[in-house]
Symmetry: C2
Subunit: 661 residues, 2 copies
């Protein structure tokens, strides 16, 4: 039922990256016999064999690498490339400044024109899109069509197709599928019940893992004295900049009568407090009190909490001023103990993403400049979104002794000597909901892996005719049995028996909300002892199922769907890690992606000499950052004997570059 | 095994208050034949028959009502009473100003002297206590003794006996049993894992009830624009006064270099934000967006969140600036729908307290002056603490249309007309942990009802001699089987096999932490095929149990213990509702309680004419407040035909008066 490419079954990301490792060697050889000229760049770019051999149903991205053409001199090309880059930069700045779509159009047209001069094929998809847009609008036919609104209506039910505008699609999904809503407070969102239940599922799954990991839940104050932030030098730089500062503890009527309530000048705090952006400082302050002897170690605590970072540019779930997360903090007697703890937790995060959310991730270490403020090493899981961008989905920090020393936390070891304490911290947040949306969902709405879906099966009973009393009784009996059967398999079931909504509208609504399986049950089905299954994705058409097999079939089908979603996502990830690109190839590819907002360039796994300055330059030149030094390829020493793709010096790592949310 | 007074089995609070109702009639008759002179006040005070007929093992409170003596003239007595009142007021003020225990002593001595003149028996317990304190301190003998520290050491393991200082006992329990810790932020506490797991148990139980009630979880922003607070007139008075005000969104280095970081003057918010003290305003702002038609109603939402109220005097769990809670908010098409919702939720709270926490409560309505700011009716559950004070443990508000109108939330009814929306809100908080502590715990530490205990059974294996390899294998096998058996009954088990802690110290520690059942298993037990059970409370001594019956016996024993704790608490509650006291009796009794901090006066159920001014006067005169108008006795019309105990006018309610945390 669920087509899966055979070679992927049972493969993990570890296996995928080992396969990449083979591809890399293959790529090296291929590169050696190919021209190294920049104009033929795309020919030597080697995709992971995962992708190449795949009979994937998933969308094929980055088709542009398949075509290339040029009849310009190298000098003309360089000049054009420069202009393209300049125009790209200009467009980025305009976008950042919030330019309207219409005002942006001439700039995009200019960019496309430049690109067409360099490579006429590069604008083809864009033209197609413009044609689509020029089609006359259809009349409103019925409710359940995805009607494009005539204006930018925040209340509209319309979902912008991904290929048209990926960002807008993302926002539409969140609004239309009732995941979250804008709040009246800048950068803060309201998480609605459908979104909240996804977070609650993640919480339940992860809470058990955290306890298994040996950490206990606790709760630390929301407010942190500002002096705490000053204790760890790097930490203050990282977090003091943008944070909510509480300066008063009372409102009072404005004596001038102009402003209603004002912060009462007489209730000003001697020392301002800040709303926690993260709790290392508070927790290490308490650790000092609690840690005396080696017997108190390891000490592992976790809290589920809200935190606040005053973000200037926010996007629901991905970057909001306030967000929900868990933050684990541990203290250890040894370097090894702490390092292992940080790595273990990353593995838990990766496993949770894969098993629960069907999101494959790349595990790795951050480059020094991307580390958490105060950490000696930051480990990360990076997921690939459908537009080819990466999303950092969870981090785990090996803090060394930085916080232990900053907060003077020592312990007496077995020999009676005072020693400094080693630490870690680790967290995932509601950002994972962004990852979930952008891994599986489509133009029709949300797609939810069954294990995380708040409703796994929606049953839509189709009522008999008004006078058919016998039929009503039979339908209700069949419905009761069917629901009981599904529940006996532990499935989360909802019966949609609203009498004021038409069946078609119900189907449409639950599809949009991502419910994995819909079951239709009508009077004729009941007579025939059957019902009809329709999966949200993964299988075409409807399936007729005997009523006495409903529970078993549904449980089986949902298991398969879960696997199918994970396999599809793995395939996309493997297929989108570009291997052996030169720096120029990467830069051009990213640049070429500028005008379109979907169908992006993916990730670049390259030999790299660790260098913060070069990293900055690359970030400036093409907005790509090092997502991580992937653990497996680096542990396998894949960088050995290779030259850095940017500096040409001896490589020290394999680095995964990409654009990121 | 667990002694329970027969007449209490199966009785609910409803039954208890019905019994009180009978007692009330009985009391009325008794009062009629007794003298009404104030000097013989205590003779005519009628306790609930629950208490009188009880063969209770629970502590008998308020013994002072049993004795009375006087050879003074009425005038002398009145004068003495006045002096006692004045001294009591003075002591209260001194305490509020944070006077030290030593400085307070002469004042207390003076008060006791006055009381001794009025009634020599009143100071007897105090003398006894002073004798105890004068005993020479014993040498430190071993770890597990409850050693009184030589000074007020915040790190000490000492638990002050309740009779000596109830407040200190409460704080000691919280510190020594690892429930919470002071934080560096004024009025905010750190909830430690043992305390947090209690809250998590409450959360799990209640979350299921809330969903059953039809509400869904969501999450609303922490920060609220101050203008929102201004919209509901009463609400602003209730909550704008003391709240944390966010005025800046950035810290920056102090240009003068004096202060390190300061709130950046350039990052001042145009409109300050406040940290939510409760979320009605934010949620009704969103409701306006979400509610259009009668089909959107009822709309029921709940959030688990932190809130902040800038409290001047704080006590862990009972009153902290930041606390954790759930807040439910519902919107309805009709008056009846909203009112029923508020009442239903109160019933859920009461049931959760009773079933999970073994805390019986009195359900009732608040008097107008004690209502939530903006509510038309506030329902409450009131629990009785061991010192005779009440603790408001949960509230549910019928908001009428106040927030609907303030936020302009309307819906289109079935006939197409626009209607105002009715609302409720309801919540319980980490305050419940205070109720839990002060309902069951004793001088030896925490006592936890099994259903809420993070660890229900602690198993302490007693290792064989060093060379007894065979014995070790046998013990480990027996231990594994025993744990498996316990877990198969769904029990939460912990094995304490720390080799650096002596058995006695382990027993002591787990008793303090309130683990309901300890099982000891030694080599000799294993040979005999038995182990030893010791319950935290409710049964004397140890019990030998066959190893093949461990799971069944433990499950049964813990069920009985749960019931025993509830019965004991019910008995205390019923026994401490004083019926038919005159106002003067109540005032004197409360006054008499001033110098001792334990063994308090309990609650007073009296006929009352609802009157805010008189309520204020009583509050001022004897610090008693109306805890509620209990639902059952008021619905039964018990106040009918009675005169208000204060004004002498026709009663409108039966009111439950008492001191409260």
């Amino acid at each position: 039922m669920f087509p899966r490419s055979n070679h992927l079954i049972g493969l993990t990301i570890m296996a995928s990256t080992l396969a990449m490792s083979r591809a890399f060697q293959f790529g090296t050889r291929l590169a050696a016999v190919s021209s190294s000229s920049r104009t033929r760049a795309s020919q030597v770019m080697v995709r992971s064999p995962m992708f190449i051999s795949s009979s994937s149903k998933t969308r094929t991205l980055s088709r542009r690498f398949m075509s290339t053409a040029a009849s310009l001199t190298d000098e003309q090309k360089l000049e054009l490339e420069d202009k393209i880059k300049q125009k790209g930069d200009e467009i980025r700045t305009l976008k950042d400044d919030g330019i309207s779509k219409d005002d942006l159009k001439p700039h995009v047209a200019e960019l496309l024109e430049l690109k067409a001069q360099l490579d006429p094929s590069s604008v083809a998809p864009k033209r197609k899109k413009q044609q689509q847009q020029q089609q006359p609008k259809k009349k409103k036919q019925n409710q359940q069509q995805n009607q494009k609104p005539t204006n930018d209506d925040a209340e509209s039910d319309y979902i912008t197709p991904r290929a048209e505008n990926y960002s807008r699609w993302y926002n539409d999904i969140i609004r239309v599928c009732d995941l979250a809503d804008d709040s009246p407070v800048r950068g803060c969102m309201v998480i609605k019940p459908w979104g909240m239940s996804l977070w609650d599922s993640i919480k339940n799954d992860l809470d058990a893992r955290i306890k298994e990991h040996g950490a206990e839940n606790a709760y630390f104050p929301l407010l942190i004295p500002k002096s705490f932030l000053e204790k760890e030098a790097e930490h203050v730089d990282g977090f003091a900049k943008e944070c909510a500062v509480v300066t008063h503890h009372r409102l009072t009527a404005d004596p001038s009568g102009e402003q209603g309530l004002i912060a009462d000048p007489e209730a000003e705090l001697e020392d301002p407090l800040i709303i926690r952006p993260t709790s290392e400082t508070m927790i290490w302050h308490m650790f000092k009190k609690w840690i005396v002897s080696h017997r108190d170690l390891p000490l592992k605590m976790n809290q589920w909490a809200n935190v606040m970072r005053w973000e200037m540019r926010t996007r629901p779930f991905l970057r909001t001023s306030e967000f929900l997360w868990q933050e684990g903090h541990t203290a250890h007697a040894t370097y090894e103990g702490a390092l292992e703890d940080a790595k273990d937790m990353l593995t838990q995060y990766a496993d949770m993403c894969e098993k629960l959310l069907a999101i494959p991730v790349v595990k790795g270490a951050k480059s020094p400049s991307e580390r958490f403020a105060g950490a000696e090493e930051t480990f990360t899981i990076e997921a690939l979104m459908q537009n080819g961008w990466a999303l950092q989905s969870g981090t785990s920090h090996f803090l060394g002794q930085s916080f232990g020393k900053a907060f003077d936390v020592t312990f007496q070891d077995k020999d009676g000597k005072q020693q400094d304490v080693w630490g870690t911290s680790w967290g995932v947040s509601t950002r994972l909901l962004g990852a979930l949306i952008m891994t599986h969902s489509d133009d029709a709405g949300l797609v939810l892996p069954p294990r995380v879906a708040p409703v796994q099966v929606v049953v839509v009973p189709i009522p008999p005719k008004k006078n058919d009393e016998e039929g009503k009784v039979a339908l209700n009996d069949a419905l009761d049995n069917l629901v009981a059967d599904l529940k006996s398999k532990g499935l989360k079931v909802k019966v949609d028996d609203r009498d004021y909504v038409r069946n078609g509208a119900k189907y449409f609504e639950w599809e949009r909300k991502g419910v994995p399986l819909r079951i239709e049950l009508g009077p004729r089905d009941v007579k025939g002892g059957v019902c009809v299954f329709k999966y949200r994705v993964g299988s075409e058409g409807k399936e007729t199922v005997n009523l006495d097999e409903v529970g078993t079939k549904a449980a089986e089908g949902l298991d398969n769907l879960q696997e199918y979603l994970l396999d599809s996502a793995k395939e996309r990830l493997a297929g989108n890690i570009n291997m052996m690109a030169t720096y120029e190839q990467m830069r051009d590819a990213l640049e070429a992606d500028e005008a379109s907002e979907y169908d992006g360039p993916g990730l670049y796994l390259v030999p790299w000499k660790c260098d913060a300055e070069n990293e900055d330059k690359i970030k400036e030149e093409c907005k790509a950052t090092i997502r991580c030094y992937p653990t497996d390829v680096n542990e396998a020493g894949m960088w050995e004997g290779k030259k850095c793709f940017y500096s040409g010096e001896d490589a020290t790592h394999m680095a995964l570059f990409g654009r990121a949310f």
